[in-house]
Symmetry: C2
Subunit: 408 residues, 2 copies
Amino acid sequence: MVWTVRSKPGSRLRDRVLQRSARTSGLPPALQPAPRTEPPTPAHEPPALRQNPRMPKPATIIDVAREAGVSIKTVSRVVNREAGVHAETREQVERVMARLNYRPKQSARSLAGGRSFLIGLLYYDPSAAFVGGVQQGATLRCREAGYHLVVESLHNDAPDLPMQVDRMVSALRPDGMILTPPLCDNPQVLQALRDSQTPCVLISPAADNPEHPSVRMDDVHAAEEITNLLISLGHQRIAIIKGARDQVASKRRYQGYAAALKAHGIALDKDMVVQGDFTFPTGVEAAYQLLSRRQRPTAVFASNDEMALGVLVAAQRLGLEVPGDLSIAGFDDTPAAARVWPPLTTVRQPMDEMARAAVDLLVGTRGGEGAAQEGGAGGQHRVLKHELIVRDSTAASVDKPTRARKAS
Amino acid sequence: MVWTVRSKPGSRLRDRVLQRSARTSGLPPALQPAPRTEPPTPAHEPPALRQNPRMPKPATIIDVAREAGVSIKTVSRVVNREAGVHAETREQVERVMARLNYRPKQSARSLAGGRSFLIGLLYYDPSAAFVGGVQQGATLRCREAGYHLVVESLHNDAPDLPMQVDRMVSALRPDGMILTPPLCDNPQVLQALRDSQTPCVLISPAADNPEHPSVRMDDVHAAEEITNLLISLGHQRIAIIKGARDQVASKRRYQGYAAALKAHGIALDKDMVVQGDFTFPTGVEAAYQLLSRRQRPTAVFASNDEMALGVLVAAQRLGLEVPGDLSIAGFDDTPAAARVWPPLTTVRQPMDEMARAAVDLLVGTRGGEGAAQEGGAGGQHRVLKHELIVRDSTAASVDKPTRARKAS
DNA sequence: CTGAAAGCGCTTACAG
DNA sequence: CTGAAAGCGCTTACAG
């Protein structure tokens, strides 16, 4: 069939610009196109929540382009801070964007550009202070970088874990994922993420994974430092309450404890090692055990603050003065650690910084240096500095004269 | 200018289907189009995170339509569970979707359909167990409903709060927002949300807002019940430790306490009322005050668990038996409440259910009944049932004979 | 330094 | 019950 057309069909862009202009043309009000009403509410939308239908529609890139007298491509360049835009042009566009209160729509950017501006955070135990700290750091860094954080709570042992992960990444196509323990060590989760080609960063994984970058702190070293502190205060009988058996952090903190003792020539006494599981009651229980020994410890290093709090409560109940009769050190620097009496000596995990670093790795901020730093086939492993927080729950041993007030 | 074309231009759809088919045509391998390589990595993307470039692209609605021998519109109907698709057609499409592992892309659905499938959660204090509980319930309900939860941490007193809110909603266009205290009572936040026409649900607001639906529990009644419990155990000198002055929950819990006393003809003794601020140390401090009175209370109702824990520690330190010498009741049912010894009698806030109800309100699940239920100009206010958790920190008063074991 | 065109993958609004 | 076309609001790939 032969068709004859009288003119080159106008581009869609031009049509739309014209159409929009008509609304503000000189037509008498009665002839102006009626404001678009909302489509009939679908059955699945609650009518009560539908809002004022004649609110002006948000400005689009086309509106900005028209007002600024440039092409939409140029507006796009300004929005994305691409180099190579005349300074005057840029300023003009920025002025119009501000005036129209223009905000690029993420779904359009995502569809066209392949970036979703979404970062996913996968976690297991929502009540863990650790997850909360990571989430906090991640949201703030995301905001700075123009991204948003989508959270997903998963059971580490759910049978359909891979499917849950797949559903999330397939629908949202996040630009990256942040995994916290124990999910960051779950092979099924990692495989699902690889299948979907989603970049991810592991936070405090059990072991460095060559396939994925990770961010963590040095638990061994921190535990060693805190034990050194106790030793430097003159303590010789230093007990440790170990954390949950299935968590790597437990093992690492114990390692640091043992290393410090060894370095100072203090024999590791089995009676000074009690198993806990990171909960308050096991701290209490362990303390009762330890404090009833013929040779009582003069200091206790609990593998986390919650257990340290248990030790504190048990000691006070037994009529012991802290730190007069017993020094107590924890790990984590939870909010409660600073609030109890006496406030706890502990280690602050840099959860916030770990999360920020993870986001940086994913969105590529200072990705250049970061990526070069460590090398490794697709994996770089950052170790962030922790902080020893010395408060009043630790003091010089009653057995020996004080040697120093603080250590490393 | 006059153009002559030899055929009606093919629709974009048909072109694309043909183009895709060509890839699997009988052409010798050498002539087949090369697999698309990733575009050169932009400066802002970390090279280390780019993945295998020749992974097959995910199936689109067009692939499914072609394989199933239907139009994309029909696939769309199946995906959205619209009525009016022949059963056989539906099953055929579903089979193909499963085989191709098809997942609709949310950015495309969002751009075309105006729904983002995103729900926003705005919170202030990330360490609050309350927020954690709400988030947990919200993520789970979102997953069930095919939505995702985007979290945003905001300072309630940030000068640019409205802008921060606006940036989020303008970029993401979430289908709804969930606000927790104190943000749900912040006029600036609410105004910004109204400006953007984003539906929102308030969780536990200070007062019912006629403009927005809300979900909460009945703090007054819960406090009354717990006080009744203590009264029924024979206690007459029941102290209360009030919560932070600026939180409505504090006031409501005190109201319930006072109401219960009045109903039982017990005079409100000013010496039995101490101000706290919801933190552990104020619980300890208040307990010392109360327990040093000439007329010591036999029971203490702390306005939250954290303060109740403080009372517990203080009591034990003073050599008092709990609950033998002193009954203690808290509020919140935090994880610690069940773990301390003795475990705390308290009230469980239905945070999970509140969050789920909020999501339902926003996505319109059972919106029909929900919306009709309460009426109100655009606002419906749901009050969910709390739960009185009676544990071992409360027992019969030593002063009076036991009257009952439980109340209401 | 700037722009015109095509396309991302869906849904809406119609038409039959 | 099913489908063809247009369009959502951007970015990419080119071209100049």
